[in-house]
């Protein structure tokens, strides 16, 4: 069977929820960030797929992907900066150690 739209959508959706699962369960902040990257990549895959199979007349999906990659980079950079700072103040990047504020 020739792989097509639904196959790739399946991959991207599964990858999305793998990322979500990772985000839910990982206690290390950096690994949580990595899960976010998975999520963003799955979205990118979606865009490209739709662009390719459904709406090839324009390059909207492709550009979306490019910009998402850029945003992901910026986001990752800021997140890592924050994580590093958090590591300085908390001496840990375990998310369970950073829950001073609650209720």
């Amino acid at each position: 069977m020739q792989p097509g739209l639904y196959h790739i959508l399946f991959i991207s959706t599964v990858l999305f929820f793998i990322g979500v699962f990772g985000f839910f369960t990982r206690r290390n902040l950096v690994t949580m960030l990595m899960s976010i990257e998975l999520i963003l990549n799955s979205v990118n895959l979606n865009f490209i797929t739709f662009n390719k199979y459904v709406w090839p007349n324009k390059l909207d999906g492709l550009f979306f992907t490019i910009f998402v990659i850029a945003i992901a980079a910026a986001e990752a950079a800021v997140a890592i900066a924050i994580i590093i700072n958090l590591y300085r103040t908390h001496q840990s990047i375990d998310v369970e150690n950073a829950e001073e504020m609650k209720f």
């Binding site: 069977m1 792989p3 639904y6 196959h7 790739i8 399946f10 991959i11 599964v14 990858l15 999305f16 929820f17 793998i18 990322g19 979500v20 699962f21 990772g22 839910f24 369960t25 990982r26 290390n28 950096v30 690994t31 960030l33 990595m34 990257e37 998975l38 990549n41 990118n44 490209i48 662009n51 199979y53 459904v54 709406w55 090839p56 007349n57 324009k58 390059l59 492709l62 550009f63 490019i66 910009f67 990659i69 850029a70 945003i71 992901a72 980079a73 910026a74 986001e75 950079a77 800021v78 890592i80 900066a81 994580i83 590093i84 700072n85 590591y87 300085r88 990047i93 375990d94 369970e96």
Partner: protein, 173 residues
């Protein structure tokens, strides 16, 4: 089953399996590497889809940029080789359940939906087309988003500098 199909399934397997491994392995460095593989797998799918430019961007930015950044931060914050702390089983199960429900829901909707394919002439995702549109300001031009992203990157940069490069380490606590 043609060769491209086989390649596709291989890429899919690579992406998903390493993606999954990256969120469940307890060795942080491995997690980063699995992530890398997964990203490469996605780049492979882009190639497979003949979106070479985007595949290249994927490899350059992600593999060359973000993953390096992540590994760098791992080195900064983590003693390598140390096992990651384990999440509570209840949380894991519940998360898996929630994620699975989400997956099922989304997949169900996707499968039930018939995508109406456009009949207009496709535009080839060539570098020339992409470049022209990226900087175009008229129809199909993406100059404005480009500018916005540049400001965003600038701001992110400044933010990172302020946060990460603390000037007075003696106040550290």
């Amino acid at each position: 089953m043609s060769g491209s199909t086989i390649i596709f399934y291989l890429l899919a397997a690579l992406t998903l399996v390493s993606g999954l491994l990256s969120v469940i392995t307890r060795i942080i460095f491995r997690a980063a590497i699995y992530l890398l593989f997964s990203l490469i797998g996605i780049a492979g799918i882009y190639f497979w889809l003949q979106y070479e430019f985007i595949a290249a961007v994927q490899i350059v930015v992600y593999v060359g940029g973000i993953v390096v950044l992540i590994i760098f931060s791992i080195f900064l914050t983590q003693q390598a080789g140390e096992l990651l702390p384990k999440q509570k089983l209840g949380r894991q199960l519940f998360s898996a359940l929630a994620a699975f429900c989400g997956l099922a829901l989304v997949m169900l909707q996707l499968v039930q939906h018939t995508f109406t394919t456009t009949s207009n002439t496709p535009i080839e995702p060539t570098v020339a087309n992409i470049g022209a549109q990226m900087l175009g300001i008229d129809q199909n031009g993406f100059a404005l988003p480009f500018e916005v992203v540049s400001i965003l990157l600038l701001a992110a940069l400044i933010g990172c500098i302020v946060i990460a490069l603390k000037s007075k380490p003696e106040n550290n606590l």
